[in-house]
Symmetry: C2
Subunit: 372 residues, 2 copies
């Protein structure tokens, strides 16, 4: 906590509003959004940056919750003198609608029944997540954001912000993301969903009184972890190393990589809700930043500057998808800088290539901020 580069002890806050008309047309509420802030909003309210989390992330992006030893999920990037420099900028991060980390989601209590929503929760879209963030930013009294930034599903929300509330953005940083999911990306999500729904404990989403579908959710997460790494990073980390196991069972894990995946699967079950997995992954699959129209038309005439980042070995969100964003920006006349970072970490690189990202993002933000 004495680390000068840490934002120190932080607390999650909550903002509740009565109702939102969802993309589906359905009215839904009340909605609570969990969020955290780091740094100080300046008098002009011109230094606010919204950080958008990936699939299983949460509002706790930086610093430490009281008593915790592990900091927030992007602590390497958020803090004094870090990429998102909290000595200069006011950083906000919120948990998405449909999540299970404080924001309203399928595990929240349905006021109509006083029981968890389960599948009574409405189908949501990435745009609904963005609409909730917009309410939060309004609530914080911020008229314009210096930037919105996020990787993976966070990057989809960045693109959602660009098309939905372009006048509120001075810049945007989509990282390792896509305008829309390819069939391969949909396929990986679908197998995860099928693994969850194949678990009898899932019980059509009604498991909050009993045993959750832990095995199905763990399998879903294992699939995810394979796609987050690369062939090369798995080779570096595990090779064909064997575990020492005294268990007599024939199909127990004996390679290190199996042990890792099983560990990550089991750990995930403790922190994530299976129904949130279904709702959020479906929102990702349905997302199409320009609703089927050319993305360049949706962003034509905007003033926001973009920094688009992709990673060489990311095969889940391959670089060509980030290049499509950049091409659309160029055609639409937007100023967009593209950097493809040489990394063997696969999709996980957006959480791990801290030095490269810090260099690129801090310079980009400085330029946008000083061009006041």
């Amino acid at each position: 906590m004495t680390d000068k580069s840490s934002v120190g002890v932080v607390e999650t806050q909550y903002f509740t509003f009565a109702e939102l008309t969802l993309e589906s047309g359905e009215k839904f509420g009340p909605i609570t959004i969990a969020y955290e802030t780091y740094g100080t909003l300046n008098a002009e309210k011109s230094n606010a940056i919204l950080i958008l989390h990936a699939f299983s992330g949460d509002a706790h992006a930086a610093g430490f919750h009281e008593g915790d030893k592990k900091p927030g999920w992007w602590d390497d990037m958020i803090g004094p003198d870090k990429a998102f420099d909290t000595s200069q900028y006011f950083v906000v991060c919120s948990n998405v609608l449909g999540g299970c980390k404080g924001s309203t989601g399928p595990s929240s209590i349905n006021p109509a029944t006083q029981k968890p929503y389960g599948l009574a929760f409405p189908l949501i879209a990435i745009e609904d997540m963005v609409a909730c963030q917009k309410r939060l930013i309004d609530h914080l009294g911020i008229a314009q954001l210096l930037s919105v930034a996020g990787g993976s599903m966070g990057g989809m929300q960045v693109l959602g912000w660009l098309t939905m509330f372009p006048d509120m953005l001075r810049s945007a940083i989509p990282i390792a993301t896509t305008i829309k999911h390819s069939p391969q990306q949909i396929a990986f999500n679908e197998v995860g969903r099928q693994a969850i729904m194949a678990d009898p404990h899932w019980n059509s989403g009604d498991y909050y009184d009993g045993t959750p579908p832990a095995k199905g959710l763990a399998v879903a997460r294992m699939i995810g972890h394979i796609t987050y790494m690369s062939d090369a990073s798995m080779e570096e980390k595990f090779g064909r190393q064997r575990k020492h196991t005294d268990e007599p069972f024939k199909f127990t894990t004996d390679f290190e990589v199996e042990g890792y995946l099983n560990y990550r699967g089991d750990a995930f079950v403790k922190r994530f809700d299976a129904n949130s997995y279904l709702y959020i992954s479906k929102a990702m699959d349905h997302f199409d930043a320009s609703n089927g129209k050319p993305f360049q038309k949706a962003i034509s005439g905007l003033n926001a500057k973009l920094l688009v980042l992709a990673f060489e070995s990311d095969w889940l969100y391959p670089a060509y998808q980030s290049q499509e964003i950049v091409k659309a920006c160029k055609r639409a006349g937007l100023e967009a800088t593209y950097c493809q970072i040489d990394s063997t970490y696969g999709h996980d690189a957006f959480l791990l290539e801290v030095d490269e990202e810090t260099h690129l993002i801090s310079h980009f933000l400085k330029r946008v901020f000083q061009n006041d």
Copy 2:
């Protein structure tokens, strides 16, 4: 059946022998091997080719079973004037040990209990599959094979033949395969195994009297199918096309790609045994063609000629793994031809790129056969 390029109606045959000492040291038997033959063995017994099937394949590689409309799994490649030309060559294909298509496997009756083996079936290795094939070839009175050929796990068996019975081979054709699985390949198999074992119907492998673990096996197969295709081939085949579905359930399949995967998963359950999935996938993961030693040492001094094929978009068995086979051959002084076929079909290409493979394989075999 009047098609001149078909081997016509064929029947599966069975060969049973008393016992095999497995790689593990365990003695196991009796073992039945299901096999088919196409074409005629010549008087010199010099025209026999052994075809080795992939993970979920079987002995029925070509022609039609009485009454069937669908031919064997590699019918495009085996028949008069095809790549494996049955007007010239005698072609043999057998179901692997551990399989569920006529060869002894975990769903076979254990003579000691008169019940299916289940997990009482011993752990098997790719080398054990090869040892069974060797017994079959001996039984057929063939002292030397003109060639052994196979893709994917079939290619691993080809490499097994090279290191175990090199004097019996005049040539070998490993296709889209590897000397050993990378951690990523192990990881995909492991998630499939976990999906099966997470299904309560799996019941520690004891389900033959009741309901099989159909949901778990279907999920495992869905993962497999993603890895058999490529990002590009999925894009070509499905794009983001939506299915028309009247089902009210929120998480039902709505993209074409989801429907395809679910269909393939369900279809697989009807033809494959979950315990065979576990045993065979584990054999693949443990396989290391040279038992940890450099592969080039294991094949040093051999006379067999190799044709090694790989496919551009195959990310499950990437081309670099085939190149490693070729490099080892070159270092060991073997004659090895390498062809990397330009294809968008991913790993499935070895079943689909018939024209390219036919061209390469028929010329290769002709050259080996005529160099008598």
